[in-house]
Symmetry: C2
Subunit: 161 residues, 2 copies
Amino acid sequence: MVDAVLFEFLHTEMVAELWAHEADPDPGPGEQKMNLLVLESMGFRVGQALGERLPRETLALREELDVLKFLCKDLWVAVFQKQMDSLRTNHQGTYVLQDSSFPLLIRMASGLQYVEEAPKFLAFTCGLLRGTLSTLGIKSLVTASVVALPACRFQVVVQRS
Amino acid sequence: MVDAVLFEFLHTEMVAELWAHEADPDPGPGEQKMNLLVLESMGFRVGQALGERLPRETLALREELDVLKFLCKDLWVAVFQKQMDSLRTNHQGTYVLQDSSFPLLIRMASGLQYVEEAPKFLAFTCGLLRGTLSTLGIKSLVTASVVALPACRFQVVVQRS
Protein backbone atom coordinates (compact mmCIF):
# COMPACT_ATOMS: atom_id res chain seq x y z
CA MET A 1 0.00 0.00 0.00
CA VAL A 2 1.58 3.25 1.08
CA ASP A 3 4.72 1.86 2.72
CA ALA A 4 6.49 1.22 -0.57
CA VAL A 5 6.39 4.88 -1.52
CA LEU A 6 7.05 6.35 1.92
CA PHE A 7 10.81 6.45 1.42
CA GLU A 8 10.38 8.02 -1.98
CA PHE A 9 8.08 10.79 -0.70
CA LEU A 10 10.33 11.48 2.26
CA HIS A 11 13.36 11.66 -0.01
CA THR A 12 11.57 14.13 -2.28
CA GLU A 13 10.77 16.33 0.70
CA MET A 14 14.35 16.20 1.96
CA VAL A 15 15.66 17.37 -1.39
CA ALA A 16 13.02 20.11 -1.60
CA GLU A 17 13.76 21.24 1.94
CA LEU A 18 17.51 21.49 1.34
CA TRP A 19 17.10 23.51 -1.82
CA ALA A 20 14.40 25.67 -0.23
CA HIS A 21 17.09 27.15 2.00
CA GLU A 22 18.63 28.80 -1.04
CA ALA A 23 17.70 32.45 -0.86
CA ASP A 24 19.14 32.83 -4.33
CA PRO A 25 16.95 31.14 -6.97
CA ASP A 26 20.09 30.30 -8.93
CA PRO A 27 22.52 29.12 -6.26
CA GLY A 28 26.22 29.12 -6.99
CA PRO A 29 28.16 25.90 -7.47
CA GLY A 30 29.41 26.12 -3.86
CA GLU A 31 25.96 25.97 -2.27
CA GLN A 32 24.82 23.30 -4.70
CA LYS A 33 27.85 21.21 -3.77
CA MET A 34 27.23 21.67 -0.04
CA ASN A 35 23.66 20.40 -0.39
CA LEU A 36 24.83 17.40 -2.36
CA LEU A 37 27.39 16.65 0.35
CA VAL A 38 24.70 16.88 3.04
CA LEU A 39 22.50 14.42 1.13
CA GLU A 40 25.40 12.10 0.47
CA SER A 41 26.39 11.98 4.11
CA MET A 42 22.79 11.42 5.23
CA GLY A 43 22.68 8.53 2.80
CA PHE A 44 25.99 7.25 4.14
CA ARG A 45 24.74 7.15 7.73
CA VAL A 46 21.44 5.53 6.73
CA GLY A 47 23.42 2.97 4.71
CA GLN A 48 25.69 2.26 7.68
CA ALA A 49 22.71 1.83 9.98
CA LEU A 50 20.96 -0.45 7.47
CA GLY A 51 24.15 -2.44 7.11
CA GLU A 52 24.19 -3.09 10.83
CA ARG A 53 20.72 -4.59 10.58
CA LEU A 54 21.72 -7.09 7.93
CA PRO A 55 21.51 -10.80 8.71
CA ARG A 56 24.79 -12.26 9.91
CA GLU A 57 25.26 -14.40 6.83
CA THR A 58 25.38 -11.23 4.73
CA LEU A 59 28.05 -9.72 6.92
CA ALA A 60 30.07 -12.88 6.35
CA LEU A 61 30.15 -12.38 2.58
CA ARG A 62 33.83 -12.53 1.84
CA GLU A 63 34.00 -11.95 -1.88
CA GLU A 64 33.73 -8.34 -2.98
CA LEU A 65 31.64 -9.33 -5.99
CA ASP A 66 29.16 -11.12 -3.72
CA VAL A 67 28.76 -7.99 -1.65
CA LEU A 68 28.06 -5.94 -4.76
CA LYS A 69 25.56 -8.52 -5.98
CA PHE A 70 23.86 -8.33 -2.59
CA LEU A 71 23.47 -4.55 -2.96
CA CYS A 72 22.05 -4.91 -6.45
CA LYS A 73 19.52 -7.47 -5.34
CA ASP A 74 18.58 -7.36 -1.67
CA LEU A 75 19.35 -3.75 -0.79
CA TRP A 76 17.73 -2.41 -3.96
CA VAL A 77 14.57 -4.47 -3.44
CA ALA A 78 14.35 -3.37 0.19
CA VAL A 79 14.67 0.30 -0.67
CA PHE A 80 13.24 0.58 -4.18
CA GLN A 81 11.11 -2.57 -4.60
CA LYS A 82 13.07 -3.58 -7.68
CA GLN A 83 16.44 -5.08 -8.52
CA MET A 84 19.27 -3.21 -10.15
CA ASP A 85 19.23 -3.95 -13.88
CA SER A 86 22.86 -4.77 -14.46
CA LEU A 87 26.19 -5.06 -12.73
CA ARG A 88 29.50 -4.97 -14.55
CA THR A 89 33.04 -4.99 -13.25
CA ASN A 90 36.56 -4.73 -14.60
CA HIS A 91 37.62 -7.22 -11.90
CA GLN A 92 39.99 -4.60 -10.57
CA GLY A 93 37.75 -2.98 -8.00
CA THR A 94 35.51 -0.90 -10.26
CA TYR A 95 31.84 -1.79 -10.52
CA VAL A 96 29.17 -0.20 -12.66
CA LEU A 97 25.62 -0.67 -11.43
CA GLN A 98 22.96 0.32 -13.91
CA ASP A 99 19.32 1.01 -13.13
CA SER A 100 17.39 1.57 -16.33
CA SER A 101 14.45 3.06 -14.48
CA PHE A 102 15.64 4.53 -11.20
CA PRO A 103 12.58 5.20 -8.98
CA LEU A 104 13.88 8.51 -7.60
CA LEU A 105 14.22 9.85 -11.16
CA ILE A 106 10.96 8.54 -12.57
CA ARG A 107 8.87 11.45 -11.38
CA MET A 108 11.15 13.94 -13.08
CA ALA A 109 10.06 15.03 -16.49
CA SER A 110 12.20 13.31 -19.05
CA GLY A 111 13.32 16.27 -21.10
CA LEU A 112 17.02 16.73 -21.66
CA GLN A 113 16.87 20.06 -19.82
CA TYR A 114 16.22 18.22 -16.57
CA VAL A 115 19.37 16.13 -16.68
CA GLU A 116 21.22 18.84 -14.79
CA GLU A 117 18.68 18.54 -11.96
CA ALA A 118 19.42 14.82 -11.60
CA PRO A 119 22.41 14.99 -9.20
CA LYS A 120 20.21 16.07 -6.30
CA PHE A 121 18.15 12.91 -6.74
CA LEU A 122 21.22 10.68 -6.82
CA ALA A 123 23.41 12.02 -3.99
CA PHE A 124 21.55 10.32 -1.16
CA THR A 125 21.67 6.97 -2.90
CA CYS A 126 25.40 7.28 -3.62
CA GLY A 127 25.85 7.73 0.12
CA LEU A 128 23.51 4.84 0.85
CA LEU A 129 25.66 2.51 -1.25
CA ARG A 130 28.89 3.83 0.24
CA GLY A 131 27.54 3.49 3.80
CA THR A 132 26.25 -0.05 3.35
CA LEU A 133 29.53 -1.08 1.74
CA SER A 134 31.40 0.53 4.62
CA THR A 135 29.53 -1.57 7.19
CA LEU A 136 30.28 -4.62 5.05
CA GLY A 137 33.97 -3.81 5.28
CA ILE A 138 34.50 -2.22 1.88
CA LYS A 139 35.79 1.33 1.63
CA SER A 140 34.70 2.91 -1.63
CA LEU A 141 34.01 5.98 -3.70
CA VAL A 142 30.55 6.05 -5.26
CA THR A 143 29.50 8.41 -8.03
CA ALA A 144 26.42 8.51 -10.22
CA SER A 145 25.70 9.65 -13.73
CA VAL A 146 22.66 9.97 -15.94
CA VAL A 147 22.65 9.36 -19.63
CA ALA A 148 18.93 9.40 -20.38
CA LEU A 149 16.32 9.88 -17.67
CA PRO A 150 15.17 7.87 -15.76
CA ALA A 151 18.15 5.55 -16.35
CA CYS A 152 21.25 6.05 -14.28
CA ARG A 153 24.53 4.44 -13.44
CA PHE A 154 26.33 4.19 -10.13
CA GLN A 155 30.06 3.67 -10.23
CA VAL A 156 31.69 2.06 -7.22
CA VAL A 157 35.46 2.25 -7.00
CA VAL A 158 36.83 0.16 -4.15
CA GLN A 159 39.58 1.86 -2.17
CA ARG A 160 42.32 -0.62 -1.36
CA SER A 161 44.07 0.16 1.87
CA MET B 1 14.59 -7.00 6.54
CA VAL B 2 15.93 -3.49 6.20
CA ASP B 3 12.92 -1.85 4.57
CA ALA B 4 10.94 -1.63 7.79
CA VAL B 5 13.55 0.56 9.44
CA LEU B 6 14.44 2.68 6.42
CA PHE B 7 11.85 5.33 7.23
CA GLU B 8 13.01 5.42 10.84
CA PHE B 9 16.68 5.90 9.93
CA LEU B 10 15.86 8.53 7.36
CA HIS B 11 13.69 10.38 9.86
CA THR B 12 16.52 10.32 12.41
CA GLU B 13 18.89 11.81 9.84
CA MET B 14 16.42 14.51 8.89
CA VAL B 15 16.05 15.60 12.50
CA ALA B 16 19.83 15.51 13.01
CA GLU B 17 20.42 17.50 9.83
CA LEU B 18 17.95 20.22 10.77
CA TRP B 19 19.41 20.67 14.22
CA ALA B 20 22.96 20.50 12.85
CA HIS B 21 22.34 23.86 11.19
CA GLU B 22 22.21 25.45 14.62
CA ALA B 23 25.48 27.26 15.08
CA ASP B 24 24.48 27.88 18.68
CA PRO B 25 24.56 24.65 20.73
CA ASP B 26 21.62 25.96 22.75
CA PRO B 27 19.30 27.44 20.11
CA GLY B 28 16.68 29.97 21.11
CA PRO B 29 13.00 29.09 21.12
CA GLY B 30 12.57 30.83 17.75
CA GLU B 31 14.97 28.56 15.87
CA GLN B 32 13.66 25.48 17.64
CA LYS B 33 10.14 26.42 16.57
CA MET B 34 11.21 27.00 12.98
CA ASN B 35 12.76 23.52 12.78
CA LEU B 36 9.63 21.96 14.21
CA LEU B 37 7.55 23.82 11.62
CA VAL B 38 9.80 22.57 8.83
CA LEU B 39 9.42 18.99 10.04
CA GLU B 40 5.68 19.36 10.47
CA SER B 41 5.23 20.70 6.97
CA MET B 42 7.41 17.98 5.47
CA GLY B 43 5.21 15.48 7.29
CA PHE B 44 2.11 17.23 5.98
CA ARG B 45 3.21 16.99 2.36
CA VAL B 46 4.25 13.34 2.75
CA GLY B 47 0.88 12.63 4.39
CA GLN B 48 -0.96 14.36 1.54
CA ALA B 49 1.01 12.37 -1.02
CA LEU B 50 0.40 9.11 0.83
CA GLY B 51 -3.29 9.99 1.06
CA GLU B 52 -3.47 10.31 -2.70
CA ARG B 53 -2.15 6.76 -3.04
CA LEU B 54 -4.85 5.26 -0.85
CA PRO B 55 -7.28 2.77 -2.35
CA ARG B 56 -10.50 4.35 -3.53
CA GLU B 57 -12.61 2.65 -0.89
CA THR B 58 -10.61 4.49 1.78
CA LEU B 59 -11.21 7.82 0.14
CA ALA B 60 -14.91 7.02 0.25
CA LEU B 61 -14.93 6.69 4.06
CA ARG B 62 -17.65 9.09 5.05
CA GLU B 63 -17.65 8.86 8.82
CA GLU B 64 -14.99 10.89 10.58
CA LEU B 65 -14.49 8.16 13.15
CA ASP B 66 -13.86 5.61 10.40
CA VAL B 67 -11.16 7.84 8.94
CA LEU B 68 -9.47 8.11 12.33
CA LYS B 69 -9.67 4.34 12.81
CA PHE B 70 -8.08 3.93 9.41
CA LEU B 71 -5.14 6.12 10.44
CA CYS B 72 -4.68 4.19 13.69
CA LYS B 73 -4.68 0.88 11.90
CA ASP B 74 -3.64 0.99 8.26
CA LEU B 75 -1.54 4.14 8.15
CA TRP B 76 0.30 3.27 11.38
CA VAL B 77 1.06 -0.27 10.21
CA ALA B 78 2.30 1.01 6.85
CA VAL B 79 4.63 3.55 8.42
CA PHE B 80 5.54 2.03 11.80
CA GLN B 81 4.75 -1.70 11.43
CA LYS B 82 2.40 -1.57 14.41
CA GLN B 83 -1.09 -0.33 15.21
CA MET B 84 -1.87 2.63 17.40
CA ASP B 85 -2.66 1.39 20.90
CA SER B 86 -5.81 3.32 21.60
CA LEU B 87 -8.19 5.85 20.13
CA ARG B 88 -10.57 7.92 22.18
CA THR B 89 -12.96 10.68 21.21
CA ASN B 90 -15.33 13.10 22.86
CA HIS B 91 -17.62 12.69 19.83
CA GLN B 92 -17.31 16.41 19.23
CA GLY B 93 -14.38 16.40 16.86
CA THR B 94 -11.52 15.77 19.28
CA TYR B 95 -9.61 12.50 19.05
CA VAL B 96 -6.79 11.26 21.24
CA LEU B 97 -4.54 8.65 19.66
CA GLN B 98 -2.21 6.94 22.06
CA ASP B 99 0.88 4.95 21.14
CA SER B 100 2.36 3.33 24.21
CA SER B 101 5.62 2.58 22.45
CA PHE B 102 6.11 5.05 19.62
CA PRO B 103 8.88 3.77 17.33
CA LEU B 104 10.48 7.17 16.72
CA LEU B 105 10.90 7.62 20.48
CA ILE B 106 12.11 4.13 21.34
CA ARG B 107 15.74 4.83 20.54
CA MET B 108 15.80 7.80 22.87
CA ALA B 109 17.04 7.07 26.34
CA SER B 110 14.11 6.99 28.67
CA GLY B 111 15.30 9.39 31.36
CA LEU B 112 13.02 12.24 32.29
CA GLN B 113 15.65 14.72 31.14
CA TYR B 114 15.06 13.63 27.54
CA VAL B 115 11.36 14.47 27.52
CA GLU B 116 12.16 17.98 26.34
CA GLU B 117 13.94 16.50 23.31
CA ALA B 118 10.80 14.61 22.30
CA PRO B 119 9.04 17.31 20.24
CA LYS B 120 11.58 17.03 17.44
CA PHE B 121 10.72 13.34 17.08
CA LEU B 122 6.99 14.02 16.98
CA ALA B 123 6.64 17.03 14.66
CA PHE B 124 6.97 15.11 11.39
CA THR B 125 4.33 12.60 12.47
CA CYS B 126 1.90 15.35 13.53
CA GLY B 127 2.24 16.69 10.00
CA LEU B 128 1.85 13.20 8.54
CA LEU B 129 -1.48 12.76 10.32
CA ARG B 130 -2.66 16.24 9.38
CA GLY B 131 -1.66 15.73 5.73
CA THR B 132 -3.34 12.35 5.37
CA LEU B 133 -6.50 13.69 7.02
CA SER B 134 -6.41 16.65 4.67
CA THR B 135 -6.41 14.40 1.60
CA LEU B 136 -9.29 12.47 3.16
CA GLY B 137 -11.23 15.72 3.40
CA ILE B 138 -10.76 16.50 7.08
CA LYS B 139 -9.14 19.76 8.12
CA SER B 140 -7.52 19.42 11.52
CA LEU B 141 -5.02 20.60 14.08
CA VAL B 142 -2.68 17.88 15.34
CA THR B 143 -0.49 18.18 18.40
CA ALA B 144 1.54 15.62 20.33
CA SER B 145 2.58 15.21 23.92
CA VAL B 146 4.74 12.82 25.89
CA VAL B 147 3.98 11.67 29.37
CA ALA B 148 6.55 8.90 29.81
CA LEU B 149 8.92 7.89 27.01
CA PRO B 150 8.45 6.07 24.69
CA ALA B 151 4.69 6.55 25.07
CA CYS B 152 3.04 9.49 23.38
CA ARG B 153 -0.30 10.91 22.54
CA PHE B 154 -1.48 12.66 19.39
CA GLN B 155 -4.46 14.95 19.68
CA VAL B 156 -6.48 15.62 16.57
CA VAL B 157 -8.96 18.49 16.70
CA VAL B 158 -11.16 18.61 13.64
CA GLN B 159 -11.70 22.11 12.24
CA ARG B 160 -15.30 22.52 11.17
CA SER B 161 -15.69 24.95 8.32
